[in-house]
Subunit: 361 residues, 2 copies
């Protein structure tokens, strides 16, 4: 067993959250918004690590459009820890790049990877699970992922299948048998019934030397590009070198590119009220409701209405005789969406792109 490591967090904040249009925008996406409760999603992602990862050990990987807002929103995170990818290349390059930065500071570091835009209800339990995962990652030198105890046959997530629990391991820790892509509904029901499938949360823990070694083994081209970049980190050359490297690097997910090919991967079971807030429907489902089932924020005038989620940033919105609607009024755009249909909000964004209505993206 190695000496106790310092712990670093890498927060992946490159998404545009197009299913949260019109609140989520290219320059002000989901993770930078207060969508549920107080604080933006990325602020809460950092805040809830308190006691486990110091803010100075937090890295954020994002893009040019979001960088300045993130620097403003996370004043305790050093600005030089905000890494700007010139273009999104999926999660493997993003994680490899962050690992490079962390390895330079501490080659023995433990590295936690977290999406910036997830909701966690039970934060003490989350920290307990992270602690277990950290211990497993530190002691075994394996890749560790956090698998969410599934509550319904969700078709929007990938799944992780666990092997039988080894006698020796701690409670809630399993070796991973396989990773499964997003299933169709029938398969999702089978997964749920089997009892050994977990939702792939996109949260990982490993030693930084482990993940770089695994990238070397499974994605040697990516590893070569990262090695090329290493000497220029912290110099004026870095940005240009990164741009060149990202011109060559191909987009691939960490799951597909590394996790599935690794020899030993553990999943730690998590049951802490996790929600990836994938759509307005999810937000509406979680929101507190009045006696008519409505959630209203801002100047809203409801008349004979039930089960609506109405959010207005400026003008008053009157809702008359409607049911099961999501109505979002932002300073420059309006969405009226039937509950259950909010996955199709991304089609609105596609339409805006096609019509080059870029000011609304």
């Amino acid at each position: 067993m190695n000496r106790p490591s310092s712990v670093y967090a890498v927060i992946m904040a490159g998404g545009v959250g197009s299913r949260f249009w019109p609140r989520s925008r290219e320059k002000n996406p989901k993770q930078l918004l207060e969508i549920v409760g107080e604080g933006t999603m990325i602020q809460n992602t950092v805040r809830r690590l308190a006691g486990f990862v110091e803010p100075k050990n937090v890295f954020v990987v994002t893009n040019r459009l979001q960088r300045n807002a993130i620097v403003r929103q996370l004043p305790d995170v050093p600005a030089e820890n905000i890494i700007v990818e010139p273009v999104g290349r999926n999660t493997a390059p993003c994680i490899g790049l962050a690992a490079l930065f962390i390895h330079r500071l501490d080659p023995d570091a433990l590295m936690v990877v977290l999406p910036a835009d997830h909701l966690i209800a039970d934060e003490p339990e989350f920290l307990r699970v992270l602690g277990t995962a950290a211990t497993v990652a530190q002691t075994t030198g394996a890749l560790v992922t956090i698998g969410i105890h599934p509550t319904h046959p969700e078709t929007g997530y990938g799944y992780i299948q666990a092997k039988e629990r080894s006698e020796a391991g701690p409670e809630g820790v399993y070796e991973v048998k396989t990773f499964a892509e997003k299933p169709n509904y029938a398969t999702a029901i089978k997964f749920l019934e089997s009892g050994d499938f977990y939702w792939n949360s996109g949260m990982f823990i490993w030693r930084v030397d482990t993940i770089l070694a695994e990238i070397h083994r499974s994605l040697p081209d990516l590893h070569a590009q990262l090695l090329n970049l290493q000497p220029s980190i912290g110099t004026p050359l870095f940005e240009q070198n990164l741009e060149t490297a990202y011109g060559i690097i191909r987009g691939i997910s960490i799951d597909y590119g590394v996790m599935e090919k690794a020899e030993k991967v553990f999943v730690v079971k998590g049951d802490f009220g996790w929600n990836d807030l994938g759509s307005w429907d999810e937000v509406a489902r979680l929101a507190p409701k009045d006696e008519n089932g409505n959630t209203i924020a801002g100047k809203v005038i409801p008349v004979k209405c039930r089960n609506n989620y109405v959010h207005t940033a400026d003008k008053p919105v009157a809702v008359v005789g409607v049911e099961d609607l999501i109505v979002i009024n932002t300073p420059d755009a309006i969405l009226v969406c039937k509950k259950g249909m909010s996955q199709d909000v991304k089609e609105v964004v596609d339409h805006l792109k096609r019509k080059q209505m870029n000011e609304f993206l």
Copy 2:
């Protein structure tokens, strides 16, 4: 038979059209808006009288808030013909006041009374009916109303019951048997089936001396107030005198106060595509629709939507997965209303009044 009279029109434009919120507002109500097709409703009301009433013979009775807009919208109507009531007192005082102005110019005049906010599809037929009504009013010295051939058991209108057609009278002209208030649905069906009930359109024709005589007979208090006012018309005293008079005059409709008590009233049957545009539902019903049944005006992005009426003045509005909605976005307020529920839009206006959100009235 008297000598041929000059014809004057009185356009009643005092309403606030609260069922057309948020487009219709106290300062900019329904009759001053382009709701269907080109031209505002009051402009079209004057325009379609061309050849029957000259613009210089058009009077408009309105309130302070609307006066200037009406002067602007009707440049051919003399500004001194726009009569401002200090407060609304229903139709009898409004009509009596206008009769006073007309009688002063021509005691033999014929007077047509028209609401400012109705839609008429077949304008030549409308003028033909007006001509018939004018002849009847001129030759008989009776009160004449225009009754609309009913097409469905509408509960939102009053009805006029006709007597059997007299052998002598012209086609489509009947003596009125009785006026009926807005019926319930069962009664409306009976009215429709009986074949001798017509919708009360609020359009009247009579000689100005006739209506003043009838007001004298049935509403002597109102007549006395009007006589008091007469000498100051056109003088600086008029406004104050009118304010005093309207402080005393009680509100009563011309139907209830005069028509029902008059000895001889004729109804001329009208079948010219009349619509009082009583609600957004009515507008949505009349509007041209695309292949999905949607009517969209402005920047609207429809995704998997059917049978909606969406009108946006500024921001883009995305409608996703919704059916049978009316969505109206104006520069300072938004309405989302289920089709069939638009009568309840006036409850929104009541709510705004209660909450003293006067800027949105």
